[in-house]
């Protein structure tokens, strides 16, 4: 009986970057896991939470908790959505012990994608090949809230013929920040261009991250600057067969 | 109501505390006191100190060492008994404990002091103001020389703080930890030495027995 994992693809992957979600499914299935997609899923509520709308965030967070009731394992292709659930849902429900109990029961079973892969025993190969020079962008929540610095790099190290070059500004914020990207577009754009400079200095053909929101920001800035560097989600690299 | 009372009332109200209510004891700082050997401390100090370190075998060699460091410049020395005992006042060009201290310090090329202690880990000279050790001697002249017996070389700041719970008290109005020359990077982060304080610091470490006072 293969192990079942439920996936929470996140609204941005669902609507704008479905390939990243599909790649994640490919990787999980190749590892012999049974993937469950609960259709009722929508959003982790981070946009409302970050904008200060706690009531609205709570309502949507409750929907998440209901949707994934009883799921043994939930895998998420996003650092920021994962940390919203594992690090901030408790704040949202701090004044509601009954709801909080459900949240506390659920959150230990929620994993960011690379976190999850590295938790599997005997993982030494993904059968992946990606013969390109890439650089890696450390998305902020993944790096600072989930502590994922080595994890994605270890996984990239398992990919055949892949060359990883670190960029100087790897840990600097890309400037997305949710509504910040449109409310403070000038500053957001300037931050993105600093990342672009750093990416270009590596000579990489691809920039990889485990957050699609960051990739959207970087892709937009690279494209606007007329650069040929492509953006890929970590899952897409790990699903690649060459 | 006086401002003092206004502020204190606001503070108590903000904290939900009553007048005279006792506090909890404060959490402890981290004091890393490791006792290193004199040789180890000296080696460390020599490595860390941002200036020259001259080690002399005993107090009789101090005057010559200081004369060499003076390099023909005039100097003002504090009236500290240790300096007197080492014969600093007799060194050419030194004005020991001058009448017009301020003017003496403002015009001298070098200021010579003793020290309360030295800190090996950071290359620091610790001075404690006193009637015999005025503040301006180590501050106004462009060069500062401290003459210190080796037994006053401590491992680090933590050791000094654990030995000296009251850095300033009835006997001393000011303590200063001097770690290197005066410097600034305020313009384009370009390092310039000797902006207001001395641009050069030197230490003479004296081994051997205490000089007769």
């Amino acid at each position: 009986m293969p192990r079942r994992v439920a996936i929470f693809v996140t609204c941005i992957v669902d609507q704008l970057f479905p390939n990243a979600g599909m790649a994640m499914v490919d990787v999980l299935e190749r590892l012999g896991l049974e993937v469950e997609f609960r259709e009722a899923q929508t959003c982790c509520a981070q946009p409302a939470f970050n904008s200060g709308y706690q009531r609205e965030a709570r309502a949507v967070a409750r929907h998440f908790v209901d949707t994934f009731d009883g799921a043994e394992t939930i895998v998420v292709p996003s650092g920021s959505c994962t940390s919203m659930i594992t690090h901030h849902y408790a704040d949202l429900f701090a004044h509601d012990p009954v709801a909080l109990a459900r949240v506390d029961a659920l959150t230990p079973r929620v994993f960011e994608f690379s976190q999850f892969l590295l938790s599997l025993p005997n993982l030494d190969s993904l059968g992946a090949r990606f013969p390109h020079k890439i650089t890696y962008h450390d998305s902020c929540h993944a790096l600072r809230e989930l502590g994922l610095k080595d994890a994605p790099r270890r996984l990239l190290g398992m990919v055949k013929d892949l060359e990883l070059v670190e960029m100087e500004a790897a840990e600097e914020c890309c400037g997305f920040g949710g509504t910040f990207s449109v409310k403070f577009a000038q500053i957001s754009g300037a931050m993105a261009r600093t990342k672009v400079d750093s990416i270009l200095q590596t000579g990489a053909s691809h920039v990889v991250s485990l957050d699609s929101s960051c990739l959207m920001q970087l892709r937009g800035a690279l494209s606007r600057g007329g650069h040929k560097v492509e953006t890929l989600h970590l899952a897409e690299v790990l699903a690649s067969r060459g | 109501m006086e401002s003092r009372d206004v502020i204190m009332e606001r503070v108590r109200a903000a904290l939900g505390r009553k007048l005279g209510q006792k506090p909890l004891p404060p959490p402890e700082p981290l004091l890393r006191v490791s006792h290193q050997s004199p040789a180890a401390k000296l080696a460390r100090f020599e490595l860390r100190f941002l200036g020259t370190v001259t080690v002399v075998a005993d107090w009789t060699f101090v005057a010559a060492a200081v004369e060499k460091l003076l390099d023909g410049k005039t100097a003002v020395a504090s009236g500290h008994p240790y300096l007197r005992a080492c014969g600093i006042a007799e060194v050419t060009g030194v004005s020991a404990n001058p009448e017009d201290l301020r003017n003496g310090c403002a015009t001298a090329g070098v200021g010579i002091t003793s020290a309360y202690c030295l800190l090996a880990e950071t290359g620091t000279i610790v001075l404690r103001a006193s009637p015999e050790e005025p503040r301006l001697v180590s501050l106004l002249p462009p060069v500062h020389i401290a003459v210190v017996p080796q037994d006053r070389l401590l491992t680090n700041l933590d050791e000094m703080l654990s030995m000296t719970p009251r850095p300033v008290d009835a006997d001393s109005s000011a303590m200063v930890l001097i770690t290197g020359p005066s410097r600034t990077g305020d313009i384009e982060q370009f390092l310039v030495r000797g902006v207001h304080g001395p641009g050069e610091v030197h230490v003479v470490i004296v081994q051997g027995k205490t000089p007769p006072l």
Partner: protein, 454 residues
């Protein structure tokens, strides 16, 4: 109410300024990283935890420590002046200067004095207060406010300085930085030795010793508190720490966090006027304890932790937003992440409501804060408080929340949304003003999943 967009645009477009800000903060950032790395300071995390704990404790019992401080200051012959407002602090200093006939005053770096516009108030009474920290001196001549909490003139070049010195001091144009520093040394030396009052800030106030601790590299603070007959130290009430030995924790963190130095050139611990028999040092000492809004912050249980700040500037150097817009685009004297969180409490939460939102919540600030202030958490709390004032925005999120609880509706609305992505309206236009937007995929993940499972 809204962000200074034009000023920000100008800053972002100034290539030289951008380089100056990015490179200078970058250097501080790198020096800090090296200074707190495990090979240099293995106890770094432990020190941070203790520093945060000591600060938190002190704030929780601030009433006790302030009284202990006052008592200790008085025991060593000094006097404490309690100032409820900035005006009171300034008024005291004006009165003192007039009584002592001290028309010339020297000042060392004090952000607290910037906060209360001390120099302006003194000038109003024809009292000359000269800034002696090199960066602050240059800014004073130029009529500008600090650009950075620790390095006030990092936005200036040697050419800027040469221009200012020529214009204001009448000297020949000289772009050699060493010469510029020596000019300042020469001019200011005279002032130190003839000033009637020296005003310093304080990095820490020691409750058990009644002492003021001043951390610096130039020596101007030492001269300020040692040369004139009167020393006035001005400090916010939150600067207190319980004991001298607590410095073991704080000194280790301050220098390294600010500029990567284990200890700065000078750390002064001073208390009271000179002792009997001492040949120099002030004859009078006053400690001005400033409230000016701090008790309000103390009373706010959510925001109180921002009072733990030791003003090291590490958060500025780490902040990707600060590193783009620089210190002058923040509305108050304190810039960067810490400025963002304390400004609303001090200046009024209804002013500059854009400020708490001008952050991507990247968390770089919290990562480097030596006293573990959760700045992103504080920003979120401020945002929460502010949204009640924005009905239009709220309705949008209410609709959003309604949709997000109804998967069918969400999927439909999203499909419609995707079809409109090509249009250039509202947030789409704002996005496209700076970067491209990808074309919407034809099928969403859930649609692809359905097909896959057939």
């Amino acid at each position: 109410m809204s962000a200074p967009e034009t000023a920000i645009r100008k800053t972002l477009a100034d290539a030289n300024l951008q380089l100056a800000i990015y490179n200078n903060t970058g250097r501080f950032k790198e020096n800090r990283r090296r200074a707190v790395a495990p090979d240099q300071l293995p106890e770094y995390e432990d020190l941070r935890t203790r520093a945060a704990a000591i600060k938190r404790h002190t704030l929780s019992f601030l009433d006790v420590y302030l009284l202990q401080l006052e008592s200790a200051v008085e025991d060593s012959g000094g006097k404490v002046i309690w100032a409820s407002t900035g005006e009171e602090a300034a008024d005291f200093i004006v009165k003192l200067a007039k009584e002592r006939e001290a028309n010339l005053i020297v000042k060392s770096k004090s952000m607290t004095s910037e906060e209360i516009h001390l120099n302006d108030r003194l000038a109003h009474h024809e009292l000359e207060a000269v800034e002696t920290d090199l960066g602050e001196y240059i800014l004073q001549l130029a009529g500008q406010r600090p650009f950075h909490i620790v390095a006030p003139a990092i936005h200036m070049t040697r050419n800027d300085v040469a221009d200012i010195f020529t214009e204001k001091l009448g000297i020949e144009h000289d772009t050699v930085i060493e010469n510029q520093a020596m000019t300042a040394r020469r001019v200011l030396r005279e002032k130190f030795l003839s000033a009637g009052i020296g005003i310093t800030g304080a990095n820490f106030l020691l409750a058990d010793s009644g002492a003021v601790v001043i951390v610096e590299n130039e020596g101007n603070a030492r001269l300020t508190h040692s040369a004139p007959k009167v020393h006035v130290a001005i400090a916010g009430i939150e600067k207190v720490i319980p004991r001298a030995r607590d410095l073991a924790v704080f000194l280790d963190l301050l220098g390294r966090s600010a500029s990567g130095q284990a200890l700065t050139s000078y750390t002064s611990i001073v208390t009271g006027p000179r002792r009997q028999g001492e040949l120099d040092g002030p004859e009078e000492f006053y400690l001005v304890l400033l409230d000016a809004g701090r008790t309000k912050l103390l009373a706010d249980p959510e925001q109180r932790e921002s009072l733990q700040c030791i003003r090291c500037g590490a958060c500025l150097n780490a902040c990707p937003v600060y590193r783009k817009i620089g210190g002058h685009n923040y509305p108050w004297v304190y810039s960067g992440p810490i400025g963002k969180v304390i400004t609303p409490s001090f200046q009024g939460k209804e002013k500059d409501t854009w400020l708490p939102f001008a952050s991507s919540l990247c968390g770089a600030c919290a990562e480097v804060c030596p006293v573990k202030i959760d700045i992103p958490g504080l920003l979120l709390k401020l945002r929460k408080e502010l949204v009640t004032a924005n009905p239009a925005d709220r309705s949008a999120f209410q609709v959003w929340a309604w949709l997000m609880r109804r998967p069918g509706m969400y999927a439909l609305a999203a499909r419609i949304g995707r079809s409109l992505m090509g249009f250039n309206i509202g947030p789409l236009a704002a996005w496209r003003s700076e970067r491209d937007l990808p074309a919407a995929p034809r099928k969403s993940f859930r649609e692809l999943w359905k097909e896959r499972k057939k």
